[in-house]
Amino acid sequence: MLKVHPTPPAATPSRRAFLGGAAATGAVLIGFHLDAGKAVRAAAGPDLSTLPAQPNAFVRIAADDTVTVMIKHLDMGQGNATGLATILADELDADWAQVRTAFAPADATLYANLLMGPVQGTGGSTAIANSWFQLRKAGAAARAMLVAAAAARWKVPASEITVASGVVAHAASNRQARFGELAEAAASQPVPQEPRLKDPSQWRLIGTKVARLDSAAKTDGSAVYALDIRRPGQVTAVVAHAPRFGGVVAAVDDKAARAVPGVIDVVRIPTGVAVIAKDTWSAIRGRDALVLTWDDAGAETRSSDAILASYREMARRPGLVASERGDPEAAIKGSAKVLEAEFTFPYLAHAAMEPLNATIERASDGGYDVYAGCQLHSVEQAVIAGTLGVTTDKVRLHTQWAGGSFGRRATPGADYLAEAAAILRATGAKAPVHLVWTREDDMAGGFYRPTVLHTLKAGLDAKGAITGWTHTMVGKSILIGSPFETMMVKNGVDATTVEGASDTPYALPAFRFTVHNAREGVPVLWWRSVGHTHTAQVMEVFIDELAQAAGADPLAFRLGLLSSAPRLSGVLKLAAEKAGWGSPAAKGSGLGIAGHESFGSYVAMVADITAEDAKVKVNRIVAAVDVGIAVNPDVIRAQVEGAVGFALSSVLRNRITLKDGVVQERNFDAYEPTRMSEMPLVEVHIMPSTAAPTGIGEPGVPVLAPSISNAIFAATGQRLRSLPLDLSGMKGV
């Protein structure tokens, strides 16, 4: 167990981000603070330690002794259900074997993400960070209520009662009771608003390896994902979407589709034509038989090459200034050496293993029940209600285990849920509708990581110190054009697009970061680690280039620029030490290093690769992470291992390309995820810390690409910048 000390509550007064604006339906006003990552690390972020204890919202103790922790977030694999339960169970002094989880309903008054404003949702690696005090307080309050109930029953002072592993005891009178025996009496005790939280030396679960609570159900087929929902009388719908983004249906001939056995109905909806059938296969075959004509007048018809070429044009013009200090042009002009570089990044699909889907039905009480991998509950509830023309209180969300998301399920317009609701409405809500997106629908359905161009120029003086740095970025903003534009975009700059570069921790004496917002018709979205997916590659590869040009060791060069970033320096040093940084590499092999902060967490990686002609083998990744207090060290390790496996294929090959507006990669054959034989050995070292915990769902992703790129340079002397890495011209040594 980690030895840690309590973090004093932030001294800054509470400042919650209540921001007004219209949701996708235009009918519902909600506040939303999407830049939760910034809030995690900002001193001006909300003081979460002062909120009142809410045990009734977060814990249920049953007579059978089970303790059920209500999970307000979506667990899409990152293990937050286990992590959140750990926090509460520790303060409660529950036995881990009695702990269960249940996904909370949509109710922003109880279950808002405290770093997102009054909105329930999961993103920005905030699940643990925003819940830390909330769940400790809830657990401590519930424990105090159990103690008070026991004190009343046994007529002894509460101060003499102890609690351990799910048992409440009074030693002097030799009495004890299980939680289940006290639950009912405890429920009628007053809720202490400021329960005493444990000193970290008293933690029994936090910081230890506890078994994941979802392992059993996910290894015997019993875990229920949204695609597994089977409601009585449900029908299955698949939708024919326009082949080009922005296209609309011009004409439908559904005669053949209706003749397919099992097909029940064909309906037009705003997003296309839905085929309703008694099962999935019949619906797919019915859709195959549709004869459709599309109107592409308002559609994006360019190819991705043309879109990127337009970015290069934009980059030559002055952009919006996101960050500026000194006079970088003048500083570069007088430099001993000047380096220039261009980095490009493709569209990326999230490609979660469970394709998008949802089941929706009208209940006998006039309400609507929705079963899905809900990720932005408040938004989704509002969008569904708007689509159905009812108030939000009529929409009940039933969150299921999600088969991945990587950001895709958190769509500001709740696209696929709106589609499910539209089908229910179009079919008169006669039967529950189970909407299934095939893999092809999911991959070609847009909401990609944006394609991005970065151009950079920097100077070094005769001693090898950076003089100035100019940086231009072109890409489509995730938030501009979304319902959140007015709230989340300042002076035209979308923080989720430029994060990790415009706010670089490197001490650059003169710096300007300008951005151009492209406006193509391809829908874009956050993709596991959002802007950091490209900014970390750009910053960490270009810094490496500067180090090389300065004749400096890449690690020492970084550390020299990070004197005001001790936690980032710390993980760089730890990863380097564990990886044997500085020891000579075998011929054809090389080590590359990269470090980056995202969402308040710090990750460094050293990649060990072997280069062969036009091929690279990633042998080993040594990672060091600083996430503050490590609530579940094994889950943290798993997230970093997984981030490597997830991101590796985007480093080596994945890209979504458009030809005349049509997505070319539609399944795993053309967009191939990392496979077993490619998986490097991943070693994860966790920095001991007393800081409040931050997230790890995303922060492992950004540094993989630059660590590999820099290792390829070390092995071959060839500098590969753009992703996916173009290995075609690479020569092994």
């Binding site: 290894t219 089977r230 296969w281 798993a638 291992e641 490597v644 496996g645 399944n667 077993m676």
Partner: protein, 151 residues
Amino acid sequence: MLTLTVNGVAHQIDADPQTPLLWVLRDHLDKTGTKYGCGIAQCGACTVHLDGQPVRACQTKVGDVGTAAVTTIEGVSGRVAEAVRTAWRGLDVVQCGYCQSGQIMSAIGLLSSTPKPTDADIDGAMDGNVCRCGTYQRIRAAIHDAARTLA
């Protein structure tokens, strides 16, 4: 009507013989532990056993199954299956878990024919099973753990 034996139970199925076994299992028999991932045998999420051999249910037509015994994640049992599940749980392999039914069915297939697999054997048997969460390191370790248990 087709007769299909799943997890030891015979079922009468009213489906076109061309229907993929995957959709018969999921939509006709509610055996939802077998997952749909790609529909083109590129991800292995739908892996089941036909007479003990791993196959991709999305590319197996129900009409071609005949009298072969279909085993799904819900029904797989025995010494190897037990060792695999125990190893998976011991190492907390799962993340989102969606691919893990298929991973486990492939791993049981591997260990049934190759009780002491090398890393190369694991690559060969498991490369067709995609895990987007990237749990491969633990899958590999769990297969080795299960092999030790079975030795």
